[in-house]
């Protein structure tokens, strides 16, 4: 095995050495429109540090081959590295067993796997899937496809004006026909951290499995599958400083073994004749075809990098950024933050009076500030708050107070142009 690419060098005693961390991210040295890039669109996709980029190159230059196939040196190396990445990810989320980590192409793919493998097998006419108003479209649409096919229906947990799930309403929705609860750990549109542990306990009390969409949580908080006790947990590599095209579905082995495969093909079988195919055991059963080997191995390096920096330090730094940004944005007259939950990740969704978010986004880009504008693939959230769209600044551990100041100065410029 290879030496870790990162270590404690990023973890000085006490807080986070942000400048040292920023030096690891080549893209942060870019200038956009003549201004230093201020990248505040991390909830959409985050950037990769040099050790992660290096891992990709090292694999491609010295280790690449197809896995689980041949007896030659490269194939054995690639297989060991790929399975090594699975082990790293299992440790990263504290899964009980490595075989509970399925590599997918991302969170969307992972949720579709559950919708197909669990939903199409265990959901029947009249059954119910409980989702929340805060869900990303990727945790809505796959379930709509299932309930349409099966004659089942979706029930939706409402949110209050702060963007928090109304827990009593959630409890009322759990019934004898509920076959699954699907909930985002952190809302991508508002940043709300949902009380998933309490939700899981309540659902399990009625024998209902829970799928957690963890795309927005994995880069920001310590994940512990055994303590959480969820049945499924999905997340993406490219939101946690890894590459696109790779993600993880964690599933309890008991469920994964009962589920039907999502895709058919090579690697997911034990034997094939034209009369009968015997499926592989997990995780192979759900990894048909040649997987994104390089991306999986690189994601392993991203998990190492995060662990090297330290999730506690990341959390402390991001909490400080959120507090600072919330305070600064709140001081701007004519700007309203959407989503003011008590427990929030470092996301600020906002609207500027009299200015459409797309105009805000285009003019901020002129200042080198990258935010996301639109409905954030969460139209039910926008509908709930009676707005078509928001501008969203989402932070990562490499962001600074100075970048918050650049955002605020940019918003002031927008207001001046439209004043």
């Amino acid at each position: 095995m290879n030496a870790p690419q990162t270590g404690l060098k990023h973890a000085p005693a006490g807080g986070l050495d942000v400048e040292r961390i920023r030096a690891d991210f080549p893209i942060l040295r870019l200038k956009v429109n003549g201004k230093p890039l201020v990248f505040l669109d991390n909830a959409a996709s985050s950037q990769m540090p040099q050790p992660v980029l290096d891992r990709w190159n090292r694999y491609q230059m010295t280790q690449h081959s197809n896995i689980h196939r041949a007896v030659h040196f490269l194939s054995e190396t690639a297989t060991a590295e790929y399975e090594g990445a699975r082990k790293k990810l299992a440790a990263f989320i504290n899964a009980k067993e490595e075989r509970e980590v399925i590599f997918t192409t991302g969170t969307t793919d992972a949720i579709n796997l559950v919708a197909h493998g669990y939903g199409r097998k265990f959901v029947g006419p009249g059954d119910e899937i409980v989702l929340t108003t805060l869900e990303h479209h990727s945790n809505i649409v796959p379930w709509q496809m299932v309930v349409e096919e099966k004659g089942a229906r979706i029930r939706v947990v409402p949110v209050n004006d702060r963007g928090e799930l109304i827990f009593e309403e959630y409890l009322k929705l759990l019934g004898p026909r509920t076959r699954l609860v699907g909930v985002g750990h952190v809302s991508n549109a508002l940043g709300t951290i949902n009380p998933i542990r309490e939700m899981i306990v309540a659902a399990h009390g009625k024998g209902i499995p829970v799928l957690v969409d963890g795309a927005q949580a994995a880069p920001h908080m310590k994940l512990d599958m055994q303590a959480l006790d969820c049945d499924f947990y999905a997340f993406s590599g490219h939101k946690m400083f890894g590459p696109t095209g790779i993600g993880v579905l964690y599933g309890k082995a008991g469920w994964l073994e009962k589920m039907q495969p999502y895709k058919g093909g090579g690697d997911m079988i034990l034997s094939v004749t034209f009369e009968k195919t015997i499926y592989n055991v997990i995780p192979g059963k759900f990894e048909a075809g040649t997987p994104p080997i390089a991306a999986a191995i690189t994601l392993g390096a991203a998990a190492d990098y995060i662990t090297g920096v330290g999730m506690e330090r990341i959390h402390a730094h991001e909490t400080d950024l959120l507090d600072y940004a919330t305070d600064r944005v709140n001081r701007l007259p004519g700007v309203r933050i959407i989503g003011t939950a008590e427990k929030k990740a470092a996301v600020i969704s906002f609207v500027v009076d009299g200015v459409h978010p797309h105009d805000v986004g285009t003019l901020l880009n002129e200042e080198g500030v990258a935010v996301r504008t639109g409905h954030h693939c969460a139209q039910p959230v926008m509908t709930r708050f009676g707005i078509p769209a928001t501008s969203r600044a989402s932070f990562a551990f490499y962001n600074t107070h100075a970048e918050v100041d650049a955002l605020v100065a940019g918003i002031r410029k927008v207001q001046k142009a439209f004043g």
């Binding site: 002129e366 504008t373 639109g374 409905h375 769209a389 439209f418």
Partner: protein
């Protein structure tokens, strides 16, 4: 890089603040709704055609500044024009916004050329074009239109014509 400073000129900001021909015509002969589901832009276009010419035209809706200013300036540009003239302007405007306008050939865009800057901002092209698609739909008695999917120049099939 995109030159949005050039795009957000005073004329566009002014039409956004004070849109012309705002409202809904009670005696419209043609009407259409335009939507951009991805950004929430929405507008209602009503117009009165007399002797195959645009006698009156109004719009109303919720949208970004680019879309609203484009709609406002469009209503001014097509009022009094023949149906064919309005349709020709639609084609010219679409070419302008997607950077395909042949500068050498004569056109009828006049002040609408302030929108040339959107061709450098691919995600904003549809904001500028939505009112024109809606006009085109209204003139052809289509109840609603969108600049998403095949109507969206950014989603045109590869190798497809402009």
């Amino acid at each position: 890089m995109a030159d949005s400073k050039q795009l957000y000129q005073e004329v566009i900001l002014d039409h956004n603040r004070k849109p012309r021909n705002w409202g809904v015509l009670p005696d419209a002969t043609h009407k259409a709704e335009g939507h951009n589901p991805l950004c929430g832009d929405h507008l209602t276009l009503t117009l009165k055609l007399r002797d195959e010419a645009v006698d009156a035209i109004n719009f109303q809706g919720e949208s970004c500044a680019i879309c609203k200013a484009s709609a406002s300036m469009m209503t001014m540009a097509v009022k009094g024009r023949s149906r064919d003239g309005a349709e020709r302007l639609f084609q010219e405007f679409r070419d302008l916004a997607t950077g395909k306008l042949d500068a050498a050939s004569p056109h009828h865009l006049g002040r609408l050329t302030v929108f040339a800057g959107v061709s450098d901002l691919p995600t904003r092209v549809k904001c500028a074009i939505l009112p024109w698609h809606t006009l085109h739909a209204a003139l052809n008695s289509v109840a609603s239109t969108t600049t998403e999917a095949d109507e969206d120049p950014m989603h045109a099939p590869i190798g497809g014509s402009a």
